[in-house]
């Protein structure tokens, strides 16, 4: 039986670790390579790096960060942020990323998912979705809409329909990121996660809103998520990764407890 995964997400801007609250007011909170190694030693199951560097001429800094992490952290490493082509994906893979996250560029040009999955394999393509709750409508029947540009641009695209399309086009995994819950520490959006997780046959990673260990338990059980993504609750030292895993294990979830 597979263990549930705890995944830490590190937002990186200009080579520094940043934490966003509702995608604005980002602040630098440390060295991503150091943090990654600290979490790895403490039992983290997987790492996600998100490049939020604004200017494209500084993008190569990210490749250096990925390379430095990959040479000392021996768990799956997923990288996203600004992946627009198979070339971007390949560059990150050569630097040491296992999985590639695609997001906005795939919303604008869905073929990107097909192209990446045939180039690097389905299992290595993660479709990351930023989602906001809206009124149910003819256009958005699930009541959840895909947004891009850090949540500023609604796309008129239904989140459930997009998840199914992403799976069909060859995504190997989905990240369900609730923009409403992101940074609030009030808990994951359970309804959204559960709805999508039960509709697809690929693993689902819940993202946005984790503040307490109970939130992880909730989304991994009621939310039917395969993995829970954490950020600020570990970055600021509120909880240790090992502490979260011990709690979930104590609640009866199968977790990897030996590392």
């Amino acid at each position: 039986m597979l263990s549930k995964r705890v995944i830490a997400c590190l937002d990186v801007r200009d080579g520094h670790l940043a934490k966003s609250v509702k995608f604005v007011n980002t602040q630098n909170i440390g060295d991503p390579v150091e943090k990654a190694h600290e979490y790895y030693i403490d039992g983290l199951d997987e790492l996600v790096f998100y490049d939020i560097t604004a200017s494209s001429d500084k993008r190569n800094i990210m490749l250096d960060v990925v390379e430095a992490v990959a040479s000392q952290v021996f768990i799956p490493l997923s990288v996203g942020g600004g992946v627009r082509s198979v070339g971007d994906a390949t560059d990150l893979r050569l630097a040491g990323a296992e999985k590639i996250n695609v997001n906005s560029a795939a919303v604008k040009r869905p073929e990107l998912i097909d192209e990446c999955s045939s180039a690097i394999g389905n299992q290595n393509v993660v479709l990351s979705m930023d989602i906001r709750k809206v009124e149910k409508s003819h256009e958005i029947p699930s009541g959840y809409e895909i947004v891009i540009n850090g949540g500023r641009s609604p796309m008129g695209l239904d989140a459930l329909a997009w998840a199914l399309e992403g799976e069909k086009r060859g995504a190997g995994e989905l990240v369900i990121n609730s923009i409403d819950a992101d940074g609030t520490k009030d808990g994951y959006e359970i309804g959204l996660t559960s709805m999508i997780s039960q509709a697809v046959r690929i693993p689902v990673i819940a993202s946005g809103g984790a503040g307490l260990p109970e939130h992880l338990y909730e989304v991994l059980t009621q939310g039917h998520a395969d993995a829970a993504l954490v950020a600020s609750m570990v970055h600021y030292g509120d909880y240790r990764v090992s502490e979260l895993k011990s709690y979930l294990h104590g609640q009866g979830l199968k977790m990897r407890m030996s590392w």
């Binding site: 039986m1 021996f74 799956p76 893979r93 040491g96 296992e98 299992q123 395969d226 990897r256």
Partner: protein, 216 residues
Amino acid sequence: MPPSRNNIASIVTLIVDYDAGNLASVKRACQQVGLAAEFCADPDRLRHAERVIFPGVGAAGSAMVSVKERGLDEALREVISNGCPVLGICLGMQISLDHSEENDTSTLGLIEGNVTRFRMDRPDLKVPHMGWNEVTVRQHHPVLAGIVPGDEFYFVHGYYPTPKDQSAVLATTNYEGDFACAIGKASYVGTQFHPEKSGRVGLRLLSNFAKWDGQC
């Protein structure tokens, strides 16, 4: 004069390069356990190898085409018959059997048996089998030394090996029932999981392989 197999430091491990996925992470993990590793796509060089890692992700069909085109199939058979320690990982392990259901592919036949797809008939089990799962050692083997109950490794696969002879099964994992996650015969050992992505326990396995003389 080739370096003596007793002197690990002088041995270069060849990581077989046949365009099957990203091999850099395997090389990095080798370096971490003090194993000097180089990529190799040349059958003549592979024939004379002292230690070989045969990794790979992707589909069995295209992998076999690429292996044959480069003449690596014969070189692998030869190097194994010479008693050289060889570690297959994931797809590199799967194509060591006779046949794979994936693309209905005839594979290398180093170990008798087939590669089978997870049936996907249980809605609660997702395919590919992706994530951390427990490995239970069924047979003592120097490369698996130190793995204790509860140790988990990282898996990403939709197919799994079914060796004909149970004596080739070194370890199992439970997903859709128990399946062989480590197989071996003579100086060949193969894992379905990725030791290079499995943290401390994975590095330990690679370190065991680095010291293995190919004898069981």
